[in-house]
Amino acid sequence: MNELCRLFGGIIRSKKTFIVSQERKNWQSKLGFILAASGSAIGLGNIVFFSSNAYQYGGGAFYLPYFLALFVLGLPIMMMEFGLGTLTRQSFPLALRKLVGKKGEFFGWFSIAGSFIITMYYVAILGWACGMLLGTFGSLFEPGITAPFTPFETPTESVSSTVFFFNMIAGWQPLILIFIIWALNVLILRKGTHSIERAVRVFVPLMWIFMIGLAIRGLTLDGGFDGVMFLFTPDFQGIAEPNVWRGAFSQMFFSLSLGMGIMTAYASYLPKNADQVNNSLLVSFLNCSFEFIAGTAIFSLLFVFALNPAGTSLSLSFFVIPQGIAGLSTLPWVVRLFGFIFFLLIVMAGLTSSVSLMEAFVSAIIDKLKLKRNKALIYVAIVGLIGSALFSLPQIIDAGLSGNGTLGLTLLDLMDHWVFNYSLLIVGLAEVILIGWVLGADRLREALNEHTKLRLGKWFVGLIKYVIPVLLTVVIVSSLISEYRPNGPDGGLLYGSNYEMPGWEWLPVFIPIFWLVVSITFSYLLTNRSNK
């Protein structure tokens, strides 16, 4: 322990830190922390994003880059982020400041800015999922529905979740639902770890039960097992494509909630002698096992009903899977029940993740500005609510829905492209460079080994200092290069340049600039503000 204190300049036993530790609440049990951290990691990405990627990149063949991403990238970074939390008992930006100085804090706030933008549109998506959940009691699984714009004005002859979705987003209902989701976030976070733990003790086991139930139903359908074999049978045709590897690395980062400050914030509520090596293994394997089950459930549905996940993972959740659920039984109440279970699962998984995203931000500003928790929650929720509304309501920028009502989706799509593809990976790269080279990966390894039953070898240092920085640099640079595709299928110099948005043509250029300027300004101002 003395060695540890010397390594970290005595910060762990310093008077100031001791006072902070006294004020900081702790998880009530190991299980509570594991449920909260795995609940954070298990989100929309596990249910649909994994299946979408596995379909895209060759089924079983995708497991090769996926496992490489898990063992080489995901696990070491999770150990590092958990370690930052327990060693400093501070949220992400201040943990980095304590260990590597002001430049570390800057990247910490940059990560918080990115994760807050993600929270805004994530809650918007949850609002839509809530709308679909309510729709299971209404007309979601009924024919004869319309949406008030082309090409959905004629009543459908059969069930169409696509038309139902567009009818829903054309109204004001999503705003109310988004307000409810933000209110639930505040409610769950109001007493910190205490109330988070109470919520995850209900939500996380239910998520597992529902997902296993859906998988069993899928497997017992005629042809369901062939669907599962379709998921796992490898197609190595595209394995050499850089997109496959980039997809797997991005998937792992987002799936494990890395580069967002969440895991450090959650680990900061653990006693400093917690075994963060084993915690990382447990959370990562639980997360990926959930994806495994979700994949079997979704692929059995896709196969039995001959559906293909065209478009994004959002289209898979809102259009393709409900279409499969509609065919699960001839009994309407059975269809409604499975529809209800699926969307409740999406809402619960999303809620446990959005709570963790919000906690990363709230704990950081509480630590930095010494605000009261309730005050911090209200400030964050109000700004977040406005942002989510902008992402969700097409009417705000397209009153007559003349652009087919999807400008709201387009805004989400543009922001998601930049923040999701770059922010998390940039923060991950900055983290490993700062911890690996400024603090020293050896020091982190020694600190983690102080309290673990599974001691880390020298390989951990090699991964943090050399392998991960090189991998992340390759992924980021190759992504940036692929942005430039003037003659590609999407056309335009920047992502989204080919969108037809009369009067809004500047949006694809504005969004990345806006994200960078806001995130950098936010990070600069908070880094240079003295700790109260």
């Binding site: 049978t233 002698n273 001959a306 039953k453 999407d490």
Partner: protein, 145 residues
């Protein structure tokens, strides 16, 4: 609106609207076993896309010397397949012939690693700490709860 997005939505709706115009002699075709595709309208070709809308999509074209309403097709691979003509499209699921051993091996390996990892980590979590191995979770270090 993004053109591709609208096209995607239309493509999502299209199979349900137009699939009735393409019929198969066996609606549950099996890989390696020939089936007859019957069209409502005579066409000179049918495009077969294995794993449509993916990065590893592979297309075959079934051609006829003159426009025809019947085509013979032997699916090469199991999975979701899109059949399309100039005026109609249909998704079908091609079943595996027998058993997919490579799929089973990947499933067992992946499942073994992931669930084995969960079991291993849970066992370590609840294992009693040996002296000098490190201090496990100690409730007395919770000063404020």
């Amino acid at each position: 609106m993004k053109k591709n997005t609208l096209l995607t939505y239309l493509l999502l709706l299209a199979p349900f609207l137009l699939s009735a115009q393409i019929q198969l002699s066996n609606e549950e075709p099996v890989a390696g076993e020939p089936v007859t595709i019957t069209l409502a309208q005579a066409e000179s070709q049918v495009v077969v896309a294995y794993r449509p809308n993916s990065s590893v999509v592979r297309r075959d074209t079934l051609r006829a010397d003159s426009p025809s309403t019947e085509f013979s097709w032997t699916p090469e691979k199991a999975g979701v397949v899109a059949l399309s003509t100039a005026s109609a499209s249909k998704n079908v699921s091609v079943r595996f012939q027998g058993f997919s051993y490579s799929g089973l091996i990947v499933m067992l390996l992946a499942g073994g690693i992931l669930f084995g990892g969960v079991i291993f980590a849970f066992r370590v979590l609840f294992r009693k700490t040996k002296p000098g191995e490190g201090i496990d979770f100690d409730p007395s270090t919770r000063p404020d709860t």
